[in-house]
Structures are given as structure tokens and as C-alpha cells.
């Protein structure tokens, strides 16, 4: 029966209309992903309106195509300009930009695209295999777990991106968490830190913050040097070398794919966390830890695989529980409803073939994304040829447009500028911007879940120690704090001394 569903979907896919739609959709997605500040959420939302008149299969195929393209497209600007096209691509930029700077941008883009393909493929397989099982696991996540997950995510990000100074990373993450609290609170609708301004009542939108923090400092840094040399030499994609590197990194691909899917399944946690978690896991397991942050191929592979595996992971709760795993999948859920599908617990019994259809759509989109991504890369790599004096003013116009189109408000453009100045200050004082962004993303989840959990436990903190998943997070957080306080460094000589005595 499963084979029949797969064959039916393949038959649908090879029709000229669907094939052309898929190529155009993925291409549009890649463009959105490449352009700083334009997100997959916005792309899917934009396209949903345009698909209203076409058949539901073609519509869903195009939306999946855009989703995959937009998530994967972030790798281009992350490697070439250190401006993540998507928030998640910040993890890719850590090593990707360094790879680009040492003249291997083409290779970095190939590795990023190929890893994105493998990650999406891994996600598609997981949609098939794990959908029935993982709906049960995600139900075990309560408010305490969600709160701790947010804290854990910000702390990991702070430790990973601070270049050895976790304290600054955590401060940055805490400020991000605070910025996320500005506006009406989710439970009581109480206006917090709005200074009486109506523009702040709804909170500060994520996209202008992201563009400001990551795009603005890059643009400003181009003003510093009057004599800027345009990079004339364009490097080849080096497919052969890329494949040989990938060949040796399959354990990283599987680990990151698994982490990406697991994070994607958890509602509300998007590809940002997956990217950083995968990067962290790869760094911890790597024999060449010192290369991370200095242009490690494994760093790019881990981040991109993890980020793209979340697409499949995000679809699992959408299909089984009608709960979106991220903002992009929330829009996709609305699009599914619009086209007459009924995701939720009854979907498996009502339309058993739908899971196979979605998986095949993901695989087809990933394949088109890989081919198009590599074709486009040949041209986007040439962006290095463009003089920064010409490129950066253009990038800033895109930043302004990207901030504006989120809510058609000029206030968002002002916010982008304000957070841009903050980004410049953070960069000058060597505070990493990534934990700040993650704090803003996870802030609302942390707030509502902490208070909900405390209300349910009558203000008691004992569930932190009695719930198994909570305990894992608590131990993880304590270990990170102890590592910052260099407790393990102090313990090492004592342990070795004892070993020597007993030995």
C-alpha cells in the first residue's frame, strides 16, 4: 500500500505543471533565503494567497518547495557576506564566513547545499517513520520542559558563539530574552516596558531585529575603510573535494539530522535551535574542536543538516496534532486548511496516503533545491566580485524593504535601525549577536511556559527535579555554568593526581 502511495505521488510530480511549479517555487524560495531579512514564513505567506486558484496538490507542492528553498537559501549570504539570510543560518555563518574569507566560498556553498539536501532527505524519511511515534513523545513536553528548553538553548548559543567568554554570550542572550518581553504579555495582556508607545504594544517584530543585528554591522564596517579591495578571484564549487569531505562526515550528518528532526517536532522551537544544537554536538564530538569558529567544514555541514532536517520535523506535529513546529509551519498549516486538508489526529485514518505525499514532496523539493542551489551558486559566488562600496548600499535597501514588508509599517524599519546600532555596539564590545537573537525568538515561549508551569504547581519548583526531562535540562544548565566557572579545569589536576597515586 505504501508503495502505491509513493508511486501515485511520483506520477503527480512528473506532470509538466507540477514539475514547473516545483522548480519555480524552489527558485523563489532560494531567492527569499538569499535575500537578507526575507524569511520562509513570509515567502509561504506570500505564496499562499497566490495559490488560492490552483489545484490543492499543486498548491501544497509549491508551498513545500518554497519552504525548502527559503530555509536552504540562507547559506549563500551567510558564507559570502556573514549576513544570515534566515535566523537559523547564523549557525552556518560562524564557520561558513571564515571558509569564504579564506577563498573557499564555492566549496563552502557546495557543502552547505549538499548538507541541506541530506538534512531535508533525513527529515522526509523521519516524517514517514516517526510520525505516529513522535506525536506521543511531544505530548510529554510540558510547560516546565519548554521553559527549560528556552533557557538551555540561549545558554548553549551563548557559550558557543562567545569565543570562550560565555559570560558575554549569556549577557547577550539575557538582553534578547528581555527584548522579547516588550509589549503585551501573552497571559494577562499587560503592557510591559512599552513606555506608553502604541508602536511597542504588539512587541518588536523579529525580522527587523534580525536584520539590524546581523546586516547593519556588516554594512557599517564597510564604511571604516576608504580603500576597499574588491575580491576579484572567484573560487570554483569544487564538487569533487566537497563530496570527499562529505563522505567522511556521515556520522555528523546523521547526528545533526536526528537533532534537527527532534527539535523540529517540539512545537514552537524552530530551525534556529536545531542549527545551534547540531553545531554544538558536532563541536563536542569532533577531534578537531579548535577548528570550530575558524572555518570548519564540519561546522557548516552540521548546522545546515540540522537546520534543514527541522523541515521534516516541523511537519510531524503539523500532520499529527495540527500544532506547528515553527512560524513557517504555522503558515503552512493555515495553507493546508485553506486547501481543504484537515491535519490533526484524524488525518492518518482519513487520508493515510497524505504522509507519503508530503514526504515525497519534501524529497523532490530537496533534489530541485540542490540542483538549483548549485546552479545559482555559480552566480551568487560572483557577488564576491562586486565592490562592497556598491553592494552594501544595495543590501541596506533590501534590509529596509525586508523590515517593512513584515507588517507594512515604517516603525519596523526604525526598529531595524535601532537594533542595527545596538548590533554595532555589541560587535565593538565583542558580545555575540546570535544569543541575543535566540533570546528574542525563545523569549515568549519562556515567559508563558514558566508562568503556566508555576501556576499549575502553585509556585512550587519541585517539578524541576521530579520530571525526568526537566532533570536532564537542569543538569545540562548546571554543567554549562560549572564549565564557565572553570570548575572542571580545577578538578582535572585533582583527578589526575589521584589516578597517579593509585596507579
Amino acid at each position: 500500500m505504501a508503495l502505491q502511495y509513493i508511486l501515485d505521488t511520483l506520477y503527480q510530480l512528473v506532470t509538466p505543471v507540477n514539475l514547473l511549479t516545483l522548480v519555480l517555487a524552489v527558485f523563489f524560495g532560494l531567492l527569499v533565503g538569499v535575500l537578507p531579512g526575507l524569511t520562509s514564513t513570509m515567502a509561504i505567506a506570500l505564496l499562499t494567497g497566490l495559490t488560492y486558484g490552483i489545484s490543492s496538490e499543486t498548491a501544497i507542492l509549491s508551498l513545500i518547495g518554497v519552504y525548502v528553498g527559503a530555509i536552504s537559501g540562507g547559506v549563500q549570504t551567510a558564507i559570502l557576506l556573514n549576513i544570515p539570510g534566515t535566523p537559523a543560518a547564523a549557525a552556518t555563518a560562524v564557520d561558513g564566513y571564515k571558509i569564504g574569507q579564506r577563498g573557499e566560498a564555492g566549496l563552502g556553498i557546495f557543502l552547505g547545499n549538499a548538507s541541506a539536501f541530506l538534512g531535508t532527505l533525513f527529515g522526509a524519511v523521519c516524517v514517514l517513520v516517526l510520525t505516529p511515534l513522535l506525536s506521543m513523545l511531544s505530548l510529554k513536553f510540558g510547560s516546565w520542559e519548554f521553559f527549560l528548553l528556552a533557557v538551555f538553548g540561549v545558554m548553549i548559543c551563548g557559550s558557543l558563539t562567545s569565543g570562550g567568554d560565555s559570560l558575554k554570550g549569556w549577557i547577550s542572550g539575557l538582553i534578547g530574552l528581555f527584548v522579547a518581553q516588550i509589549g503585551l504579555d501573552a497571559l494577562n495582556s499587560y503592557p510591559r516596558f512599552t513606555f506608553g508607545s502604541m508602536a511597542l504594544i504588539g512587541g518588536i517584530p523579529l525580522i527587523p531585529i534580525m536584520i539590524g543585528l546581523f546586516g547593519f554591522p556588516e554594512i557599517v564596517s564597510s564604511f571604516k575603510h576608504q580603500e576597499m579591495k574588491a575580491i576579484k578571484q572567484v573560487i570554483d564549487l569544487r564538487v569533487k573535494k566537497g563530496l570527499s569531505i562529505l563522505k567522511g562526515k556521515f556520522p555528523t550528518v546523521f547526528r545533526s539530522g536526528f537533532l534537527g528532526v527532534a527539535v523540529g517536532i517540539i512545537p514552537g522551537v524552530g530551525e534556529d535551535v536545531a542549527g545551534w544544537l547540531s553545531y554544538w554536538a558536532a563541536k563536542m564530538r569532533s577531534k578537531k574542536k579548535e577548528e570550530f569558529g575558524k572555518g570548519s567544514y564540519e561546522g557548516v555541514i552540521a548546522a545546515e543538516t540540522g537546520i534543514n532536517a527541522t523541515i521534516g520535523g516541523n511537519l510531524i506535529p503539523v500532520l499529527t496534532l495540527a500544532v506547528p513546529g515553527s512560524t513557517s509551519s504555522a503558515v503552512l498549516l493555515a495553507a493546508l486548511w485553506l486547501h481543504g486538508f484537515r491535519p490533526g489526529p484524524l488525518l492518518l485514518s482519513e487520508s493515510p496516503g497524505f504522509i507519503y505525499t508530503m514526504s515525497m514532496y519534501l524529497v523532490a523539493s530537496a533534489l530541485v533545491m540542490l540542483l538549483l542551489g548549485l546552479l545559482i551558486s555559480r552566480y551568487t559566488v560572483k557577488m564576491l566580485k562586486i565592490d562592497k562600496k556598491i553592494l552594501m548600499p544595495i543590501v541596506f535597501v533590501f534590509c529596509a524593504v525586508g523590515s517593512f514588508v513584515i507588517d507594512n509599517s515604517i516603525t519596523s524599519v526604525y526598529m531595524m535601525f535601532i537594533f542595527g546600532i545596538l548590533g554595532v555596539l555589541l560587535a565593538a564590545m565583542k558580545y555575540p549577536a546570535a544569543p541575543f537573537l535566540l533570546g528574542v525568538v525563545l523569549g515568549p515561549m519562556a515567559d508563558s511556559n514558566l508562568r503556566r508551569a508555576l501556576v499549575l504547581s502553585d509556585g512550587s519548583l519541585t517539578p524541576l527535579l521530579t520530571r525526568p526531562l526537566c532533570l536532564i535540562f537542569v543538569i545540562g544548565i548546571i554543567l554549562m555554568i560549572l564549565a564557565q566557572l572553570k570548575v572542571f579545569d580545577k578538578l582535572k589536576p585533582i583527578i589526575f593526581k589521584k589516578k597517579n597515586i593509585t596507579g
Binding site: I171, Y190, F396, V401, I410
Partner: protein, 160 residues
């Protein structure tokens, strides 16, 4: 700004501590305003965040004082600041930021996108000496026109 930035950490620690005091103060006011138990208050997480920032800023401050002391940090900051504001690099950066601000706060809200983006790109490229007037005019016009066509005409997305 490169190299040792202990004096900058010293300043940022003081600023962060002041911000954290404000966050804690306002969070407590939110709690008192809403009433009920603290654990259900909208000010709970912000109170927690404020306290954590205060703690981290104190740790950062203490770290800066090691070997140098308060007077050493202040004199290092003064020395850095007087040198910093005189460099050509700083002046270029400030001029660039002013042009970005001009685009965001004056051109975009007052003029149609096509005109505002063209003026902005033209001015910035001219100031940065990106090429001849003809070259930057063509580039600015083409980019403005392309963005306008793509967003406003093809995708019907409103532009500023």
C-alpha cells in the same frame, strides 16, 4: 577597538548594571500593579532576567578590576576615546551611519520608494567613491527599479 578591550567591558558592565536595576524596578512595579502571587505575575520573567543581568554585570565588572582597578580602567577608557574620535575610520563610519539614518528617518517616510531608494544609494555610493557619477546613477536607478518591479508590480507587496 582591537586587542584588549577591558576598559570597554568596564563601561559596558556599568551600563548593564544600570539597565538591570531599571528592569528589576519596573518588573516589581508591574507585579504590584497587577497583584496576585509573584509566580503568576507578568513581571516574573523580567524580574528574573533583570537579576541575572545584574549578576552577570557584577561578575564582568569584577573581572575588569583585576590587576588594573577603577582608576586604571577610567584612564584607559579616556585614552582610547580621545584617540578613537580623531581617527578617519571613525569619521567615515559616523558619516555612513548618518546617511543610513537619513534614508530610514527622512527619505523613506516622506518620498515614494523609487525616489528615496535612488537618492539614498546615489548619495552613499558617491560618498564612498564607488565610481563615476554615470556608473552610480545607472546602478542606483536599475536597483530601485528592479526592487519596485519585483515587489510592487509582480508580487503586489506594498513598499515604503
Amino acid at each position: 577597538m582591537e586587542g584588549n578591550i577591558k576598559h570597554l567591558d568596564f563601561i559596558s558592565a556599568i551600563c548593564l548594571f544600570l539597565v538591570s536595576v531599571y528592569i528589576i524596578w519596573d518588573s516589581w512595579e508591574i507585579h504590584e500593579d497587577v497583584g496576585g502571587p509573584l509566580y503568576a505575575s507578568p513581571g516574573l520573567l523580567t524580574l528574573f532576567i533583570g537579576t541575572m543581568i545584574a549578576l552577570c554585570s557584577v561578575l564582568l565588572f569584577l573581572r575588569c578590576l583585576k590587576n588594573v582597578g577603577i582608576a586604571g580602567n577610567i584612564s584607559a577608557f579616556k585614552h582610547w576615546f580621545t584617540g578613537f574620535i580623531k581617527t578617519k575610520e571613525t569619521l567615515n563610519t559616523l558619516l555612513g551611519i548618518v546617511i543610513l539614518a537619513l534614508f530610514v528617518f527622512i527619505l523613506l517616510p516622506r518620498f515614494p520608494f523609487l525616489i528615496s531608494s535612488f537618492i539614498f544609494m546615489f548619495i552613499l555610493m558617491k560618498v564612498m567613491e564607488a565610481g563615476s557619477i554615470l556608473k552610480i546613477t545607472i546602478i542606483s536607478a536599475c536597483v530601485s527599479g528592479s526592487i519596485f518591479t519585483l515587489f510592487q508590480i509582480i508580487f503586489k507587496v506594498p513598499l515604503p
